[in-house]
């Protein structure tokens, strides 16, 4: 099995999917000749031609809106938004259109569409190249939101997203692109959307998280293990739909839950998870649920001290989990 970076896993999956299904097209800003500003689509235009890997004008509403039309007329578009921060000009098309087309047509029309977007901070990207935007979309029925935390999951989730009959937002953490590596099988496989994954078993504290934070949490768990604290890590992988069963299972098992995400605290995914646990497993808890999340500032600042103050690190996770274990 080949060891690949998170980025390579995505690129190779795109390649595999483009080869498998001639209805798939990729488009977005700079995805063609340039191979994307992060090189995710590098080489794909050369292999599949300008009709299937298209450099679009600089207009996100047009990118998503035309993808909707193209999907309805028989293609399987995978548009790319260059940075998740620039998805907002397209929010009208995503929320008002893609998300509700099936519902509003009473099941007649559907929009099989995968919108890929790099997100996340800690890369000196400042307020507009660092954001986590998943909570905006997780709020919207009709959309699915996935965020892989390993190269292996990146492949399986992308393939599932492509097969899905509904619009899927596929968010890729920029800091994960080259820092995360792992084994990725050659053959195609699917990871069901809505299925979480237990990345580590433990008995004292559960960390529920997703994306890049999974690797940070794993590092924290190793540190804590040396201190005699046993940490369980649940990787959500899908933000919508959530794997409610696995969330409740781990909460019941350890009785102590720490939810971690880089996205802002208020209104973030952590709130939903906490509510689910409070509704269904409150009396199995041994401590109040704890959330560790990005601070409530509009977006991540640039200057190194400020960026560092914003970012979630494995040290911060270690500290929060240790504290919770002591409760």
């Amino acid at each position: 099995m080949a060891v690949m970076s998170y980025l390579e896993a995505i690129r190779e999956t795109l390649r595999q999917e483009l080869r498998r299904d001639s209805r798939i097209i990729i488009y977005g800003e700079d995805v063609g000749v340039r191979g994307g500003v992060f090189r995710v689509t590098e080489g794909l235009q050369k292999e599949f031609g300008e009709d299937r890997v298209i450099d679009s004008p600089l207009a996100e509403a047009a990118i998503v809106g035309t993808a909707i039309g193209a999907a309805i007329n028989g293609l399987r578009p995978i548009p790319e938004i260059q940075f998740a921060d620039f998805i907002f000009p397209a929010i009208n098309q995503i929320v008002e259109e893609a998300a509700r087309i099936r519902y509003r047509s009473n099941g007649e029309f559907g929009v099989p569409l995968v919108i890929r977007a790099p997100f996340g901070g800690g890369v000196h990207g400042a307020l507009y190249h660092s954001q986590s935007v998943e909570a905006f979309f997780a709020h919207v029925p009709g959309l699915k939101v996935v965020i892989p935390g390993t190269p292996y999951d990146a492949k399986g989730l992308l393939a599932s997203a492509v097969e899905d009959e509904d619009p899927v937002l596929y968010f890729e953490h920029k800091a994960a692109y080259r820092s995360l590596k792992g084994e990725v099988p050659e053959e195609r496989y699917l990871i069901p959307i809505g299925k979480a994954d237990l990345k580590r078993s433990g008995k004292d504290v559960s960390i529920i998280t997703y994306g890049l934070m999974v690797s940070y949490a794993l590092k924290a768990a190793e540190t804590l293990e040396k201190e005699g604290i046993s940490v369980e890590i649940l990787d959500l992988r899908s933000i919508r739909p959530l794997d409610v069963e696995m969330i409740l299972d781990t909460a019941r098992k350890t009785g102590k839950v720490l939810v971690v995400h880089e996205d802002n605290l208020t209104g973030g995914v952590g709130g939903e998870i906490s509510a689910l646990i409070a509704e269904h497993a409150l009396f199995d808890l041994d401590a109040p649920i704890r959330r560790l999340a990005g601070p409530d500032v509009p977006a991540m600042p640039y200057s190194p001290p400020l960026e560092h103050a914003f970012m979630i690190t494995s040290d911060k996770i270690t500290e929060a989990a240790r504290d919770l274990a002591k409760f």
Binding site: T66, G74, E97, R102, Y103, R104, S105
Partner: protein
């Protein structure tokens, strides 16, 4: 009219759809005033534009992405009066939305009428996307989006025309310019006389046509469709027309336009003037006309009765079709 080779059958069909649309429209207002239909959006006044454009396409095969005013367009495209009335009354069997959307939010997959929402100008981009797929799949289809002149102020209008022109997509942008966006007159909407002037910014033809003359609209749409099929890209058509009724049944147009202005335009009522032309040019006899009008009346009655008797959606279906089933 003489210079176009149009068969009498086609001319009669055009008239039929225009008159049918008007009759359905009139009935909807009655149902609304009787408290039986919560809201009405009218095609009243736009029929020539809509039917002229629809008839120039390969109906049911080419895609149309209409807006709420396009009753005449969708019936010319094959949505039946019964289906229209099921939609108006929010019945379970409404094929547009199963009673989920407001009236006049068209969508009929069987006839390649794309589903449409309320947010204006989103459909322009969808039409470009449908056309993108046609280009990639080489399926020979053309897509047509229609929209009001007010909606051309939206960014998505611009993005759609730009995208479509860069990629030379087989798409037609049909602007039904009735001079008002609810109460806002066109001069407060844009600093130009003609929406068609915007075409120049995209390097595509911008064509102005008398929207009250179905034959002229037919001609320019046909030309635009041919151009699209030849791979030469989009066309922007501006059909100058007028709506004879308020924006919707919730609007009172006396607040923003004079009765004289409305009366002036009504002298050129497309249904009446086209009827007269067909008689004058002996395409139809008075008897034929009467028979057709009777048939329309029957159809409208039938559609109304049918829809009123049809069941409402079951509340237990509220949660269905959020995702694929």
């Amino acid at each position: 009219m003489a210079k176009v080779k149009l068969t009498p059958e086609l001319l009669k069909e055009i008239y039929y759809y225009m008159a049918l649309s008007r009759a359905l429209d009139d009935r909807m207002w009655i149902l609304n005033r009787q408290g039986r239909a919560p809201v009405v959006y009218s095609a009243n006044g736009h029929e020539a534009t809509q039917v002229g454009a629809a008839m120039a396409l390969n109906r049911g095969e080419d895609w149309i992405v209409p807006y709420y005013r396009d009753l005449a367009m969708v019936i010319a495209y094959g949505e039946t009066p019964r289906e229209v009335m099921l939609h108006l009354l929010g019945r379970a069997d409404d094929p547009n939305s199963g009673g989920r959307q407001m009236p006049a939010h068209w969508g009929l997959k069987r006839r390649h009428i794309m589903t449409t929402g309320s947010v204006v100008a989103t459909q322009d981009v969808h039409a470009a996307g449908l056309a993108l797929a046609s280009k990639v799949l080489k399926d020979g289809r053309v897509s047509l989006a229609s929209f009001g002149e007010g909606s051309t102020s939206q960014g998505e209008f611009h993005e759609a025309l730009n995208f479509a022109s860069v990629h030379k997509l087989p798409v037609i942008f049909l602007n039904e310019n009735n001079g008002y966006a609810i109460s806002v007159p066109a001069r407060k909407q844009m600093a130009i006389m003609d929406v068609a002037a915007r075409a120049q910014g995209y390097g595509i033809p911008g064509v102005i046509v008398d929207g009250n003359d179905p034959i002229k609209v037919y001609e320019v749409t046909q030309e635009a469709a041919e151009r699209a099929r030849r791979g030469e890209g989009p066309t922007l058509i501006e059909a100058k027309t007028y709506r004879f009724v308020p924006h919707s049944s919730d609007d009172d147009d006396r607040a923003y336009r004079s009765r004289e202005e409305v009366a002036e335009w009504k002298k050129r009522d497309p249904v009446i003037t086209f009827e007269k032309r067909l008689i004058d040019e002996k395409v139809m006899t008075q008897d034929e006309l009467k028979a057709m009008q009777q048939r329309i009346k029957d159809e409208v009655n039938d559609a109304t009765d049918f829809a009123e008797k049809a069941p409402l959606p079951d509340p237990s279906t509220l949660g269905r079709y959020v995702y694929a089933e």
